[in-house]
Amino acid sequence: MYYVVSEGLRRFNIPHTFEFLSIINLYARWIREGRLVVDSSWNKEGLRFTVQDPCKLVRQGIGDSVADDLRFVVKKVVGEENFVDVWPNKSNNYCCGGGGGALQSGFVKNRRHYGRTKFDQFAATGADVVITPCHNCHSQVLDICKEFGGKWQTTHLWNWIEKALVR
């Protein structure tokens, strides 16, 4: 969780010499620099993709710029025409409902009621695949998809980058 480090370093004033980075920004930078070459031609059947914006990375972390990088990477990997965005999105997106320890807290009914908002949002996109670049989001989106009868596949981002990788 990005915010646990970025906010922790600030709030507790922890001295450090490293620079803290998100893998999402790096993927985008590497693609732009030509160090990471991806080809979306594998997606011949036109699988449609959407994304979740993790709160701890986007709204509470880096902001819209990393959400833009996430979309840039996904479009390069799956084909721009195969990406369909959610609404609301980026810093204004909804939490999946599994964050803040909700997946661990045990109030399952509340968690799923919360997740219904997210479910409806994804269902409205008609996407075949939801990419969740956060483990909490991944577990929650899997759960609400099953609970409310969603048709999409829930995955991490790196699987699709690997699929599109050109060496």
Binding site: M1, V4, F18, L21, C55, E162
Partner: protein
């Protein structure tokens, strides 16, 4: 004409409000315009009979007992969308966090507290550091053997002076170790010099959600010390 019901003045202690303002000086509780932007945009609205606006009203009006007992503080995911919508920028999530910290240990959600306790020893799922190292090496060896195109793949651990430090969410080495491989392949293709650490390697940290700042700070300081010892220039967060 009958007198209105007496307001329970004794309940108006405002102790919690004072506590919140002491711990979080920019809480700005009295800035609330009661507009309801927060509540209308919050998926936790209505759960446990509360929403961010009502929650803040209870605090401003000194309904401390109700605030100390409500489980709405666990229905809220501290996602920050209410702060994002608030014209006055009030951070309700951070107040929720403070109230979670006031919940006695024995009354807290057990699994959440346990995830944090485990984090303080090795990682949030509780697998040992030795198991983490073993799983990484085992999965790497298997991949190198079974996929000739990736025979040179690397997954360094404790490589001092590596340019990039990479954390690893504990879920993968615990339940889906094959999910570590795609990222290794990406990093290998890009050609960066990276390393994991054999301790304080977990990218998740549920100590941020129990409400105990000391646990969050302790676990983060340990991780920072580890990265500093490895002299890495960049710390990559994987989620």
């Amino acid at each position: 004409m009958t007198a209105p019901d007496e307001i329970a003045i004794k309940k108006l202690t405002l102790k919690l409000k004072a506590y919140v303002l002491e711990k979080f000086k920019e809480a700005n509780i009295d800035y609330c315009l009661t507009c309801g932007m927060c509540a209308s945009g919050c998926p936790a609205t209505g759960l446990e009979g509360l929403d961010p606006r009502k929650f803040l009203r209870l605090l401003a009006l000194g309904q401390d007992d109700e605030l100390l007992s409500t489980n709405w503080i666990y229905a809220c995911t501290i996602c920050g969308r209410c702060k994002h919508a608030c014209p006055m920028g009030i951070d309700v999530g951070r107040i929720v966090y403070l109230l979670r910290g006031l919940r006695p240990l024995e009354d807290r959600p057990k699994s959440l507290q346990k995830s944090c306790e485990l984090q303080k020893t090795s990682c949030s799922t509780g697998i040992s550091n030795e198991d983490f190292v073993w799983v990484v090496n085992d999965v790497l060896e298997e991949t190198c053997q079974n996929e000739p195109d990736w025979a040179e793949l690397k997954a360094p651990i404790d490589k001092k002076g590596a340019e990039y430090y990479l954390n690893q969410n504990a879920k993968e080495p615990t339940v889906e170790p094959e999910e570590m491989v795609p990222l290794w392949k990406i990093l290998h293709t890009v050609g960066i010099d990276w390393t994991y650490s054999s301790k304080w390697w977990d990218g998740a940290n549920y100590c941020m959600f129990t409400g105990d700042a000391k646990d969050w700070e302790y676990t983060l300081r340990k991780q920072v010390e580890t990265i500093e010892e490895l002299c890495c220039r960049y710390y990559i967060n994987t989620e």
